[in-house]
Assembly symmetry: C2
Homo-oligomer: 428 residues x 2
């Protein structure tokens, strides 16, 4: 059994080969992976049933157990996902900048795969398929470590995927799976061999990864999103958005945790939204001035910094857009924050000054998702400041390199003034 | 005296204000900064003379002392640099993607400043001006820590720059300077307040920063660049490129450290390049098969991993482009590597498979520089895999956010199938 480091070293050596594969080959491999999943579905379902039985024996929480399931419907979903990836344009080799520096000296900034990506993800067999497919389409090699609760399903799915990818002609090191819990720490130590780590899962786990590696990490540790209802809001829209942002899927990172309401409309709006929340099963926790208007649980200072991931939301009153912006920038996680207003100038200010990866006007924070952005799929959502930021799809799995094609030019001629740059941008 | 942490906290709070400044204001501030430098040049030159005198007393090496100088010529250079920055288009607010997700639901990916940038740079007063100007143009707040050998010059220049920027109307926290050596460690600990660190200087220092902070770091620790002379090279071009890449400025990170020569042409090429190197004062260290052709010092395995930063270059023979690629990917620092060949198909393969931020055909590695790429100026060169990569100018000092403008849309309607996305890309 090779060590994680050995796997990463081999992958690093072969990653330029993977990066240079033509998109036709990568698409053919994706099609082969899809067909192989369909052809081997009985064995995969059988492995998944064993995982589900073990989960029951181990009294895994029903919410988690639900994610472990890989059935006909999940299979159809991942196959549709692969088909949609095949249909997307090649993210590799796109010219981002083309500039003639001087006669016969042309610079191009061209997208290229990142190289070797380590993905550590939760116990969801469909995630294994999605991540593998995204990495193949983007020309990256990937080391995959899935949750132990689906070890049997992962093994069955991965062996099918990998065999199909190799059969189609991808390099041997394109996809590898590691299984042991200790493999994670070893993976975090593969500086120089692994170019990017993508940890998914609990906040605590993502933070653990960030704190214990020198490899760049793409991920988010928190999802503390806000909805701010401005005094010029359409209150009916606001109620629908507030309910959707909280209750449509409360465990998601893009669900709202805090509601900010402009003081002048609080008397009209709060009773409406409180009634809608009650109907949706949402518990409201309010500041004193909120509780003076509607009956709800009291919110403390700690609530403004709490990601509930449950049917609970905190609420406070604010004095206009700047007060809302200040609250969000101080307490938010820079994930996704929304304003509800019909005043576009106010929305403009909110969108310019809120320091988050996603800033919305009159839409639910729940739209922050690679599929909903039209990226085909996402490998995760980044709340870091540096790119890739926000939902990360194919575009976020490529970087770029500069290609300079000359005809013998040397810098000495430009330093001496014999030659001069003329910087003429070309059609990309 | 506020602590670095206090400075960073204030800056973080004000950075959205700085990010939202219109480009006209940022350009006006740059013009004011330029004018203020010119108006106060006597005081600045006087401070610089004190630094130079102290350097002489402290027996600072002449190569370093040369960089400390800030005179009429350097002043004219930095003012020309500011003028060129003023002339560049606004890097902020550019729409990178515009997509209608559904009727009345429009997503935009728009560039925005990174926020708070900490720059730790070498003892060069002109660098202080360049970095401040780049940060102002890109709408970022910056905490600047310069080399102690130019403390007096830095203080004089910084007070002039900051006063002019504030007078022009930029937020109070736009630019701050810290001076004490201990401030660096404090800066490295400002996770969550500083969004990006840019360390410049020695390899050891950059690596120290990378190893001692959780803040994203943009920089390069090494510059081990190669020139590969392919058998289909124009040998006259190859000689000029080899000499320029090594000798035009050997202390630069983009200078070549290793020369790879295809075996079939070694007998013809090596004597020519060895003669040219001898004339340029370059010491050649060769592998055994190189030394069988030309007389030179022996190279050991360690030479392939050595950045000389001096008039020394190592050379070995290779068996074709794949052998060259393997050597470069194994020993290089992923900075900039060049092939000299008239065979475009071979160059294509080299450029696809060499895993570096810059890959050149028939041009000197010394072109890897923000000015020479037409970026107006650079804040540094990144050899990391994730963007920004290569020479980093204005474009690398912005990130992006997603703006979604809707008319009350909620995710529930799409999850239930009542609504469907149609993903129509719009003119950006």
């Amino acid at each position: 059994m090779p060590s994680v480091r050995d796997v990463a070293r081999k992958m690093k050596l072969e990653s330029p080969q993977m990066a240079a594969t033509p998109v036709e080959l990568r698409n053919a491999a994706l099609a082969a992976m899809r067909d192989a999943l369909l052809a081997n579905k009985d064995a995969i379902f059988a492995a998944n049933r064993e995982d589900l039985a073990a989960a029951e024996t181990n009294h895994v929480a029903p919410a988690v157990a639900h994610r472990l399931l890989f059935d006909e419907r999940k299979l159809a979903d991942v196959c549709a996902g692969i088909d949609s990836l095949i249909g997307l344009p090649d993210p590799v080799g796109r010219t981002l900048l083309a500039r003639e520096l001087d006669e016969g000296l042309v610079l191009r900034r061209v997208t290229c795969p990142i190289g070797v990506i380590g993905v550590i993800f939760e116990a969801r067999p469909d995630a294994l398929v999605q991540i593998s497919a995204l990495c193949v389409k983007s020309g990256n090699c990937a080391i995959l470590k899935g949750g132990s609760e689906t070890a049997r399903s992962n093994r069955a799915i991965f062996s099918v995927l990998r065999a199909a990818a190799l059969e189609a002609g991808l390099p041997d090191a394109c996809l590898e799976q590691v299984e042991a819990h200790a493999d994670v720490s070893e993976l975090l130590g593969c500086t120089g061999l692994v170019d990017l780590l993508i940890p998914r899962g609990s906040n605590a786990f993502v933070r653990h990864v960030m704190d214990n590696t020198n490899i760049p990490v793409m991920g988010h540790a928190d999802g503390l999103c806000h909805v701010y209802v401005h005094e010029a809001a359409d209150l009916a829209k606001a109620v629908r958005i507030c309910v959707d942002a909280k209750a449509q899927y409360p465990a998601a990172c893009n669900a709202a945790e805090t509601l900010l309401v402009d003081r002048p409309i609080a008397g009209r709006f709060l009773p409406q939204v409180a009634a809608a929340y009650a109907e949706a099963g949402v518990t409201l926790r309010g500041s004193d001035d909120v509780r003076a208007i509607v009956d709800c649980e009291p919110a403390t200072e700690a609530d403004w910094d709490t990601e509930y991931l449950a049917l609970t939301i905190s609420a406070r009153l604010v004095d206009g857009v700047d007060d809302a912006i200040a609250h969000i920038n101080a307490h938010g996680s820079h994930h996704t924050d929304a304003i509800v207003t019909e005043d576009d100038a106010v929305a403009e200010r909110f969108m310019a000054l809120v320091d988050s990866a996603g800033v919305y006007q009159n839409a639910s924070t729940r739209f922050a998702d690679g599929f909903r952005y039209g990226f085909g799929a996402e490998v995760g959502i980044s709340t870091g400041k540096m790119p890739p930021r926000g939902p990360v799809g194919l575009d976020g799995l490529v970087t770029y390199k500069y290609l300079l094609r000359g005809s013998g030019q040397v810098v000495g001629d430009y330093a001496s003034g014999r030659n001069a740059f003329h910087f003429r941008d070309l059609e990309a």
